[in-house]
């Protein structure tokens, strides 16, 4: 009975992903995360910073995937992802807080923020999984320019705390 209650509350994204993960669960998951050394290129163009990281989480750029760790930077166009036991929180430069749940893939597709004028825009693409968004300065100044896109919908925000969950296409 408990299972059916869960079905009614969850969407395809949460329901299907754990099965694939369960089949492939192996020793690799227990390996410690690699230590990431910040590169100068990241520092110059950093648009956000990882906070808490639990389990497996990564930031990928040009095909190279690095393990996430608190304090590590992310840049525009990074693809962020978490494993089946992973979760991670990061802040963007404008103070937006993004919390990714397990089995999540999200692209930092568009981000521009002028700290002096506080103008700019944010565009996130949630490909799969769950993300909680607590918006920062950008959504307060330019609400129409803060978007989260999933394979089936576009979410526009206005001074907000919300969760988006999406199934893999």
């Amino acid at each position: 009975m408990r299972t059916f209650i869960a079905l009614s509350l969850s969407s395809l994204g949460l329901l299907t992903a754990p099965f694939a993960a369960a089949q492939s669960r192996g020793p690799a998951e227990l390996a410690p995360a690699a230590v990431v050394v910040a590169s100068p290129a990241v520092e110059a163009s950093r648009i956000g910073t990882f906070k808490q990281v639990e389990g497996q989480a990564w930031a990928a750029r040009a095909g190279a995937r690095r393990a996430a760790e608190p304090g590590a930077g992310v840049v525009l166009a990074d693809r962020l992802s978490t494993g089946q036991n992973g979760a991670a929180t990061l802040t963007l430069k404008d103070g937006t807080v993004l919390t990714m749940g397990p089995n999540t893939t999200m692209d930092l597709s568009r981000f521009q923020f002028d700290s002096t004028t506080q103008k700019g825009h944010v565009g996130l693409d949630l490909l799969q999984g769950t993300v909680r968004v607590v918006t920062g300065l950008l959504a307060r100044i330019n609400p129409e320019l803060f978007k989260v896109t999933t394979p089936t919908a576009v979410v526009g925000v206005r001074g907000t705390d919300f969760i988006v969950e999406t199934a893999a296409p």
Partner: protein
């Protein structure tokens, strides 16, 4: 992660396939849940698909998107959100801490009282996972907008240097100049107001 998720019981491939097949017909592809804002302020989320837009205006309203872009509105509860998204709630960082530093008149030199606060700022940032410090310099409205942008940035950078000297990682400190745009005490243009010559420090 704990393994008390109900799906933990469904571990055979046959069952997984059956479940996925069943769900593909009717389950939403995207769910958007509006949460209450920490300060209780009103907020709005619009969820758009090729067939329309659904607005969420009340906390715990949920927009669901079907395979063909069909939008439906549901209502959930705080308790159900905690059950469904435990990690999203658990990992939320603590609220940012704020400090105000003041400068000696017409300079980027901190007052002795404000210099004494720097150790607290660094300790606060170091206590956080991935802690960052954002220093935003401000000016009063005397002088041009451009000159005040430069002065406010110089003030922020002066504070940043002091924080770096205290051993905090440079890549985790941002210096921002807001010029005269955000006065603590609103005044007419060209009015001298010492209380507006300050740096706001946010530790997050």
């Amino acid at each position: 992660m704990t393994f008390d998720h109900p799906l933990r019981f469904l571990t055979t491939p046959a069952l997984a396939l059956a479940l996925a097949a069943t769900l593909a017909g009717c389950a939403p592809t995207t769910r958007v849940t509006l949460l209450p804002q920490a300060d209780g302020a009103a907020s709005v989320v619009g969820v758009s698909t090729p067939v329309g837009t659904q607005f969420l205006r009340q906390p715990y309203q949920v927009a669901t998107v079907g395979r063909q872009g069909k939008l439906d509105l549901e209502t959930t509860t705080a308790e159900k959100v905690r059950e469904t998204y435990p990690r999203l709630l658990a990992l939320q960082p603590p609220a940012p801490e704020r400090f105000v530093l003041e400068f000696e008149p017409g300079s980027s030199q901190l007052t002795p009282e404000s210099q004494a606060q720097l150790a607290t700022v660094v300790a606060s940032a170091q206590a956080r996972a991935g802690g960052e410090i954002v220093v935003t310099g401000h000016t009063d409205r005397q002088g041009t907008l451009e000159a005040n942008d430069r002065l406010s940035l110089a003030r922020a950078q002066a504070v940043r240097s002091l924080l770096v000297a205290r051993g905090f990682k440079p890549e985790l400190i941002e210096a921002v100049g807001r010029g005269e745009r955000e006065p603590l005490v609103p005044t007419d243009d060209e009015v001298v107001e010492p209380r507006n010559r300050r740096a706001d420090v946010v530790v997050r």
